[in-house]
């Protein structure tokens, strides 16, 4: 945003009296007001007007507006805080008030014109919320709220980082727990902790006591972590001792990963099983896309092949052809997906870049359309689908392994295997050939990489893993319909790989947690999940084009110049000296 660079930082002190600076506040206020109006009209404010974050104190709809105002105050104060705190607070308040005034404008407009003919959400509910139920008399309310919130945000920005960071972390986590309180409460109710759960969480949102406790705990934890700096201390330990600290921590994480679905009940088990499936898919595409750089937007094709193969071979209902057990069928699903990948990979070997993305997208769509068509209906069931697919582990429904829990473990085990394979492949001759192709196909060919074989192997391995994921997902759901094959799945998987960081295995896991896990938890906000998903994709790509957890190489590629510029001069010298000293 050019707003961030204007005026240039060195002009800030000198140009204090510049009229442009007021204009800048107006600009931020108007832009912020547009965002606030957007948040209102898109429905987040009115729809969630009754969804509590903290019961009796704050509703989600209001919170969304407050957060918007706070963001406006923050942006307005960012430059001014370098001059003085007063200037920051006044700037934040002015910008917030301007944004609030635009909401007032919305109310006034809505009183004259029937906006509802156009925008479904421009309803009396919204207006009542904005003006405190006072109709036009209450039109000043958004202005006051905007000014106060913007001012407070600016004031927080002016605090020293020792106070500011814990405060911001505490407030953000308050919102976070407010969103998830209901989800956390449900599994706790069947444990001895039921009383505590009722005390802290309502069925939606935190109780006042819960909010206070969460806020105090998070602030305290942040303060402790910031003052003791455990990470830096561990890093400073000699290797033998570091292993003593890190080892048990890793074991603890592993234990948590394994026990997670058991501890948190069926809903979380379902969510985490889906995440594990997407980790598996992501690891598969990570080979095709992350290592070899071939963007496949038709990944769902291989998933579909794996899923339908297993479904046909195992189903005991109509369309089932063999009635095998799940485990007998899986290898066939994988191999068949691999063969389809070979068949689809052959013609498009010579297509590059974005064109490849579109060609594969075409393949994915062709497979999807065929699966739902009358042409293949006698074999695949079309929209009616294939039902009665047995679970992988045949246990009675009361068993602890029944339902999504077993799928979670199976997907996790497969993901571990696939991750291991991918990790070992990366350093191998084949893996290095993939990386070479990703960086520059022509040069790689010149260096003796056989493009045809290398690319096909990347396709086939990726396809095989997708087939595996499809097979397992059929085991999870117990049925497959033509409508389960969706373009969105291909896009999700590609987004996981790129958002996580191309070629990075931890990145895939984090990507799946963020892009699949979070939206699954937000089921309650069905209409707005994909909106936030899109927003998150844009934001992550703009702020971290290399991905959330990039592999070391790609991080260096994108940030070498920044790193060198960011280092103070003396450090540059010592670094060079160190290298000289260590040179033989």
């Amino acid at each position: 945003m050019s707003a961030a660079t204007f005026p240039p930082p060195d002009m800030i002190g000198a140009a204090a009296a510049d009229p442009w600076r007021l204009l800048r506040l107006v600009k931020i206020g108007v832009a912020g007001g547009a965002i606030a109006i957007y948040v209102c009209l898109v429905g987040i404010v009115p729809v969630f007007a009754v969804r509590p974050l903290i019961i009796g104190v704050l509703e989600l709809g209001q919170a969304a507006l407050l957060i918007a105002f706070a963001a406006i105050g923050y942006v307005a104060a960012r430059d001014r805080v370098k001059v003085s705190r007063f200037r920051a607070v006044s700037g934040g308040a002015i910008a917030g008030a301007i944004a609030g005034a635009m909401l007032t404008g919305l109310i006034a407009f809505g009183a004259v014109l029937d906006l509802r003919a156009m925008f479904l959400n421009a309803s009396p509910v919204l207006y009542d919320l904005l003006n405190n139920g006072l109709v036009l008399k209450g039109a000043y309310v958004p202005i006051v709220v905007g000014a106060i919130t913007g001012g407070i945000a600016a004031a927080i920005l002016g605090l020293s980082s020792r106070v500011r960071v814990p405060l911001v972390v505490g407030l953000s986590l308050l919102v976070f727990f407010g969103l998830f309180a209901g989800l956390l409460r449900t599994p706790m109710l069947v444990t001895p902790l039921a009383g505590l759960a009722r005390f802290l969480f309502g069925s939606e949102g935190l109780t006042v006591a819960g909010g206070t406790i969460v806020f105090i705990l998070t602030v305290a934890t942040t303060v402790i972590v910031r003052t003791t700096k455990p990470r830096r201390r561990v890093a400073a330990l000699p290797p033998a001792q570091r292993r003593l600290v890190v080892g048990p921590l890793m074991l603890l994480v592993l234990a948590m990963v394994l026990l997670f679905p058991l501890a948190l009940g069926p809903f979380f088990a379902q969510v985490i099983a889906i995440v594990a499936l997407f980790v598996l898919l992501g690891l598969g595409l990570n080979i095709t896309l992350g290592l070899a750089g071939l963007l496949d937007l038709g990944f769902v094709a291989f998933y579909a092949v794996g899923a339908y193969t297993v479904a046909l071979l195992t189903s005991t209902a109509e369309y089932g052809i063999a009635g095998w057990s799940f485990w007998q069928a899986v290898p066939f699903g994988v191999v068949f997906a691999m063969l389809v990948a070979l068949f689809l990979g052959l013609p498009i070997l010579r297509i590059r870049g974005d064109y490849l993305a579109i060609a594969t997208l075409g393949f994915g769509e062709i497979i999807r359309i065929l699966a739902g068509s009358d042409l293949l209906k006698p074999w695949l069931g079309g929209p009616r689908g294939i039902l009665n697919i047995p679970k992988p582990l045949d246990v009675p429904p009361t068993d602890w392994l029944a339902g999504p829990v077993q799928i979670y473990y199976i997907a996790l085990a497969c993901a571990a295997v696939v991750g291991f394979v991918a990790w070992r492949l990366r350093g191998s001759r084949l893996g290095r050939s993939w990386l070479a192709i990703r960086e520059d196909e022509d040069v790689a060919e010149g260096m003796g990489v056989n493009l045809v074989q290398t690319k096909l192997l990347a396709y086939m391995l990726g396809g095989a893993f997708a087939g595996l994921a499809g097979a397992i997902s059929v085991g999870l759901v117990g049925s497959i319909f033509a409508s389960s094959i969706q373009l969105q799945l291909s896009i999700n998987v590609a987004a996981i790989v790129i958002v996580g960081g191309m070629g990075s295995i931890p990145g895939v896991v984090l990507g799946a947690l963020v892009l699949i896990g979070l939206p699954e938890l937000f089921r309650e906000f069905s209409d707005y999940r994909l909106l936030f998903y899109g927003l998150a994709l844009m934001t992550i790509m703009i702020l971290r084009p290399e991905g959330l957890l990039p592999s070391r190489v790609s991080r260096r590629e994108l940030h070498t110049s920044d790193e060198i510029l960011a280092l103070p001069d003396d450090q540059l010298i010592t670094d060079a000296e160190r290298r000289e000293a260590t040179a033989p």
């Binding site: 068509s373 042409l375 590609a494 909106l531 998903y533 994709l537 790509m541």
Partner: protein
Amino acid sequence: MHVRRLDRLTDVAIDVFMLAFKAAVIALVVVGSFLTLIGGTYTGADWLELVGAGLTQGSIYAMIALGYTMVYGILRMINFAHGEIFMAGSFGGYFAIVALAGAGMLSDNVIVSLIAILIAILVAMAVSVTLAVGVERIAYRPLRNAPTLVPLISAIGASLFLQYSFRGFFGSGIYAYPTPAFLQQESPIPFLSMRWVDVLVVIASLAMMTVLYLFVMRSKTGTAIRAVSEDKGTAALMGIDANRAIVLTFVIGAAMAGAAGVLYGLAFIQVTFAMGIFPGIKAFTAAVLGGIGNVPGALLGGLFLGLVEAIGPTLFLTGFGVPATNQLKDAVAFTMLVLILVFRPSGLLGERVTRKRA
């Protein structure tokens, strides 16, 4: 030595495979068409009806394709959100035309109705242009020097964001475009059974694309745009503001998409928040078909795609006894996309782009 021989063998095997693939496709098309025509289920009038439908659909594809082709030409990126820009235009035009209908402008008076439609198109263009400029500014410009896949993901994000924002604004219902009655009547064009609205769509799209072609080829600004898509650095050295040229490209593409949105609404009546995805992907297909970065190519590709989509499934597949060929319309379109990418990546008219340009 052994490895070398294996390599050569795979190369030969692949060549054979590609040849067989080509032969199979051609055989399928020829035999299928032959069997269908022999079967005689469809009369000449049926085919002409399909041609008419294909022309309408194709004109709309062509107009959307223009945005893809120009943006890809200048930035080498697939503007995935372009389908949503089209959808936004359609909604903008809807509200305008509803208001104008409320004012009694959609009457039997042809001139007044056409003026109303023109106003709706202008409103739609304004909405689309505003959104497209915003998307370029927020989602694409910061990523101009990032690796190629990064803007693509950002574009997918922008597309979802726009789609679900519109769902939030206007709900998930289907909006029905009000159209003046005379547009739905049969036009007196011989042979092709086209409604007046189809004629309007085809003529409007041809006219707009012609004006645009002249603008891009003749005007100074158009030359600047072409120079920037040829080579940004050199163009900048010649005193061309590359940013301005890029924004202008988005503006032109969005204006055409907005107009296409209104025409789509008039021709197919139904408008929803999710309507942009498939026309978007198809239009990109059309852009590739015609040769990317090429204005007449977009028109040709769009019309070609529209016709193949309308006639293809019936013509090629009915002969084999395939049921409900209309379901496979999209599959035929995408198969053609893949075939074009494989066998003629430069498109019908156009430069060769599979090799990345230095």
